[in-house]
Symmetry: D3
């Protein structure tokens, strides 16, 4: 018999949306990553180090993660 | 003759997504606003003052606005 | 007869201050923009893409926009 | 034969530190959570909703997660 | 003879503006503080704990401090 | 008799941790600074200008400063 326990990690960040990496642009220390989150394209500025550690490249299935305190609302 | 010049305001924030307000929950100074941005629901924590100044209520057509430096990516 | 409806966009961000762009410094993916907001100079780190999309250059009349959750206070 | 593939989720946020929840204080929409990250205590302001979804309570083993763009440095 | 060395603490945050506290509104865990930074009024959402630790009250001379990565620019 | 009054500046940011600069990597406008905050290493992305103004270099004794609203919690 095989017992398995899979513990999924949960993060307090309220906003998590699945998408596909469309473009990775690396600078010296920063990087811009564009993720298609149908029907929008979300842009993330993260460290180049993170891009390399996660091995981010075009076509990757990823999630964009955004803390609720960082979201603004415009109207009109 | 009528001349009109409409100057649209543009903001440097890279991420703007249209949605419909689904829920507004007000605390003493903060507020949580849930916006349906098909197919996701985005949660924003903003000031109660902003909710009142914009008159945010269920059903409103709004945009969620997020600076690129605030977006993270998870993979796997 | 001419009917016009101008709908001004409002954003939940509490802090909006008018100023004049004093300097734009572009890196590979990021950019630093200095805006004179009398009597101070405000520095913004935004994406190079945003600088180009807005066509930001010295002398431009702009607004700096800052979400209330990002503001700290020091005393003493 | 049994094949298993465990894919660990990685997040671009550079700063992840293990700790123990010391205190959870809930407001109407926001919450303050204190996490002992030896030898420091880290304070997080997150949504009350996140506290409830994660079931955060005193004694929980957690990680604090902080994006590199949010970290400042002081000297002197 | 008396020797004194005063080392001023410097913080990497690019934006520091002097002002006078105009209003302090405390919630259960968060607080809104309005600071007159002539000619503008800046709103900060900070923890209630910080308000109490700094003893913030109307009339206090303070500085608002904002990291450059948190500043957006709008034009038009 | 000599009277001295030293007024320490306090900042509302809840999280301040002492550490030693381990690495400074400068890009065109941004910089990554790694600070050993025993037992962790904290990464900060700040402006290159701030690195130069503070004269940050390997071995410096510094503090990392993080606003509570920027801290997330993960569990599991």
């Amino acid at each position: 018999m095989i017992k398995m326990k899979v513990v999924l990690m949960s993060i307090s960040a309220r906003n998590k949306m699945k998408g596909i990496v469309k473009k990775v642009e690396k600078g010296t220390v920063a990087a811009n990553v564009k993720v298609e989150v149908e029907p929008a394209v979300v842009t993330a500025m993260i460290t180049k180090e993170a891009v390399e550690e996660l091995g981010l490249k075009e076509g990757d299935e990823v999630q964009v993660v955004i803390k609720a305190t960082e979201v603004m609302i415009s109207k009109g």
